[in-house]
Subunit: 265 residues, 2 copies
């Protein structure tokens, strides 16, 4: 059986136009889970014969919802330097642009290396329950999430306080992590406005930027559990931001993620 994440790697290409397809196992409330699109794009670029270095950043702008079905990704390296490479990507469906993206790849260089931020101090995954998600969120079935803080509000709403969520994330079917699957993991946070509004309100990511701090050897060495934490800084005029971090179980910062999320309410 193909691992769910690997269904996203199955694309056909004619030079630098890839044809991909949404997958039922990555369905969201409406259309596909954004993290699946992240993983698909990252994998397409990463496996291009001219890709140089490893993913360092990815920005995706969601201009319109992807409908279930096929979509095309036109992508190109716009400039390659000694130490990095810049890519652009355009996702279209029925000839209309649904998303735009840019990616940075970078060569590993031996430099000063420090972690300035600190991981949240929470109980280990073995001491936390797996959170239930409704089956309509097919993508959530690909993960086990064990919340230490800020679980998605139930029908009784939230009790106020901060919009921080912190949870351990594991793939339901075990598989090593790679850049695309870490990219998908960075979009597993439900919209922060759910906590502030006390309930699910219509919400969706309009722009997302990921920074990959981890080098390939660090990703290869990862165990199954990632520590994920997210918070908002402001909700205003129908937009709210989200800043998130993904940590390894041993306290290494792997990914930072930033989003602007559209909401009603």
């Amino acid at each position: 059986m193909t691992h769910p994440i690997e269904t996203l790697y199955d694309v056909s290409r004619t030079h630098r136009t890839a044809t991909a397809s949404t997958r039922p196992e990555w369905g969201n409330m409406v259309g596909p889970f954004g993290g699946a699109t992240v993983a698909t794009i990252l994998n397409i670029i990463q496996t291009d014969p001219e890709a140089f270095g490893r993913p360092a950043s990815l920005t995706l702008n969601f201009a319109a919802p992807l409908a279930d079905g096929e979509y095309t990704v036109d992508y190109a390296p716009v400039r390659t330097n000694r130490t990095n490479q810049h890519w652009t990507a355009t996702i279209a469906q029925d000839g209309k642009v649904c998303a735009t993206g840019t990616a940075l790849f970078a060569v590993e260089r031996d430099t000063l290396s420090t972690i300035e931020a600190s991981p949240p101090q929470v109980p280990g995954p073995e001491d936390l329950q797996v959170a239930p998600f409704p089956p309509v969120l097919a993508w959530a079935g690909n993960y086990e999430m064990r919340f230490a803080d800020g679980i998605v509000p139930g029908p009784e709403g939230t009790t106020g306080g901060s919009t921080v969520s912190t949870y351990w994330l594991r793939q339901s079917i075990e598989r090593h992590w790679d850049y695309p699957s870490l990219g998908a993991a960075a979009d597993t946070f439900f919209p922060r406005v759910y906590i502030r509004a006390g309930a699910g309100v219509p919400a969706g990511t309009v722009t997302m930027t990921l920074y990959f701090h981890a080098s390939p050897d660090e990703i290869t060495a990862l165990g199954p559990d990632l520590l994920c934490t997210a918070e908002a800084s402001r909700f205003h005029n129908g937009l709210g931001d989200q800043t998130a971090r993904i940590w390894s179980a041993d306290g290494n910062l792997l990914v930072s993620s930033h989003q602007m999320i559209y909401f009603k309410g």
Copy 2:
């Protein structure tokens, strides 16, 4: 006399190819200050007759240094929805791509509005000294920066500790703030690695994303002083990130800024 920021708004256009020029008053160590490029691009898009709503986000990827002189900006709205509009931009010089960008514009909608983050608690600008910058950094002459924390290291290096910098920023020549000038302000942070390395090392932004939280009326109401704060989360493999916030003097969150910065050392 034209205000320094307004020299950046002086571009010629043939449909959606704008020709802009670097300006001596915005010179950096090598080439132009990145914030000047931010302001130029934002202004070009914002003044397009089809621009819809107000700037909500901007991502710029710096693929190669801009040389002093003219450059072109090809830009286009890729999709306009009921509540937002997505743009792409490509900056080229001598026919080679120097930077790529994407921007999100959004309509103001009356929704839940809260500030989740807290501004740093620091003395007011009247109690802090203006930091000296070397004249070679022409752009810095357009600002007065009053550091409360994390000033750029002098020849004696830093004393370690955190990579946070917090300062009050004011335009040297008074002028109201607008989206482009706030965008420039969001790039006034010197690279965080200077603090960690204890000295200036070769460093430059490779990708930058700005989120504009403030609505136009909030920007119109701003006084001269902005409270700016930035920190890093990890330095590794020649890249370091930076997350920054710009606050109004009365504690309103105006802009969040995220960068990946290339460095040697």
